[in-house]
Amino acid sequence: MVEGDHTFGSVSDKIGDLALKKKTPFHWFIGFGIAFMVAQLLLFTVVTLLARGIGIWGNNQPVGWAFDIINFVWWIGIGHAGTLISAILLLLNQKWRTSINRFAEAMTLFAVACAAMFPLLHTGRPWLAAYWLFPYPNTMGIWPQFRSPLIWDVFAVSTYATISLLFWYVGLIPDLATLRDRAKNKYFKLVYGLLAWGWRGSARHWHRYEIAYLLLAGISTPLVLSVHSIVSFDFSVSQVPGWHATIFPPYFVAGAIFAGFAMVLILCIPLRVWYNMKDFITDTHLIYMGKVMLATGLIVVYGYAMEAFFGWYSASEYEVFMIKNRIWEGPYWWSYWLLILCNGMSIQLLWFKRFRESPFWLFMISIVVSIGMWLERFVIIVTSLNRDFLPSSWAMYSPTMFDWSMFIGTIGFFFTLIYLFVRFLPIISIFEVRTLLPSAQVHGHQQDFEENVLEAENTYEKTDPPKS
């Protein structure tokens, strides 16, 4: 999983120096500058929104939810790959997660931050919305409605953001100690020192640390599955044709992992070239991620097939109409076929080695998949709402300039945070990469009996069987 000749020291230098070296590469300033300028669109939209109200957005009856929830679900979904990589792959003992988990977790945090802005700002005046979002004893004597999926969403997303932050930070503590001990600039030394909380690598500390990390992974796994299930409840608990389907929770979770791995690939393919990290983020990593994308993508395509099947099998006039409206009769038929092209067709290339093993093609497919997953939410939300039960209330939906500026603004905000993260924190978990080096193995009598047996079995499998 680590290529090239590396020692504990060279690993620490190579990854740590990205944060510590004096000279910031010029391309960082260009990238950060562009991202930061795009993020100003978000500031502009939020100021306008707070001043003029949510009427500046294009959503109106019958399409009461549009870009705000499309983008919310899109961003939350992207975040899920980070938790999958850091928690589920840790529990499954997949060593290849080690060099990508740190920035995948950072991606999760930043994506959740972008996601949370949409529903919060859709309340219009978020500071007044607190009493129906969180249960606190207020002067009006009323409480949130716990029977509503929207309140489940508040609990799920806020727990997800908090646990993701803790998981990420706990993973960073030993690496921050490495940076503290290596920093030459006294201000950097002070800040990293404060953040590392006096970590000194004691064996007793490592013992509890590993237990805590494993337990966090254990509770993050059901958490990440529950979060997107609950996000899908926002739709499936309602009675709207096109939303009210039992396939939604697993289909949403698979879609989230699909979109998230696409985003991890979009981030790590340029990153490993610009920062010369090919020793740690190897081609094997990219191939594995491509395979995960193919597998989850196929589950998503199965979800599309089942949606159409449910519509027909329900024998409900409204369900059948919704499917017709979505796929060929409605005004948004093109978005459905574009979605199938982006999510269904493009990933079929991943069956072939030629595409799966080429970073260029993986990058292109990932971008197409990200667009496709955005379209998926557009299709689910807009085509289910625009022609509802009463033909007199049918209407078209089109986003306004402010819908677009807020969406593009959050993309800028996301990349601004990613650039800051890449500059100031270790993008790869240094201490976990050290454990992957051959020299990290303890030789001799210390190993448990079982480990020795396993090792012997593995060696036997790897060598050629004796010729008879």
Binding site: F8, P174, D181, R204, L223, A440, G444, Q446
Partner: protein, 180 residues
């Protein structure tokens, strides 16, 4: 006695490889030292057994953290919808527990997670920005590539000359005095 130097915290030996550290830790334990610690740039499972580190109580704390979250979540929702402000929603029962599951589930995970992280830091005695081991200049390599073994002066077996000679016999790069 040679350890009249009251400002001495302990003796520390530096090793190059994890195997040397684990072997040395085993010898130190067999020699009867108990106030010992090892420092490494990454977790070493073998060291737990070599130094005789007991399994942490943390998983139990996390379990109770989770149970607290669950009870808190269920209690809160029962209080809100059954006791304090019963509200008839579509003729459903006031104590409609299935709809209380998601929020209680999330609170279970939230409190278990808080307990795991802050419990770990609390049991480790962190944050602690100052510690005597940082007085050894080469200790900054403990977060990078070197392995260190410490015997504290508080140990009842500790005698400066004897312990120093013993540590030197374990094949370290160097043995350091750790000032308080």
């Amino acid at each position: 006695m040679a350890n009249i130097d009251k400002n001495l915290y302990g003796l520390m030996a530096e090793f190059d490889t994890p195997t040397q550290l684990v072997d040395a830790a085993r010898s130190v334990r067999e020699a009867g030292y108990t106030k010992t610690d090892a420092f490494s740039p990454f977790p070493l499972h073998e060291i737990d057994e070599a130094l005789g580190i007991k399994r942490s109580i943390l998983p139990l704390l996390v379990f109770f953290g989770g149970v607290t979250g669950l009870l808190l979540g269920l209690g809160l929702q029962a209080f809100v919808h059954y006791i304090d402000y019963p509200l008839n929603v579509g003729g459903r029962p006031y104590l409609s527990w299935p709809s209380f599951v998601p929020a209680a589930y999330e609170l279970t995970i939230l409190l278990a997670g808080f307990t795991a992280v802050f419990g770990m830091l609390f049991l480790n005695g962190l944050p602690r920005p100052y510690h005597p081991v940082f007085n050894v200049p080469r200790f900054s390599l403990a977060s990078r590539e070197k392995f260190f073994l410490l015997i504290e002066t508080d140990d009842k077996e500790f005698e400066y000359d004897k312990t120093r000679n013993f540590m030197a016999s374990l094949g370290p790069q160097e043995v350091f005095d750790v000032d308080e």
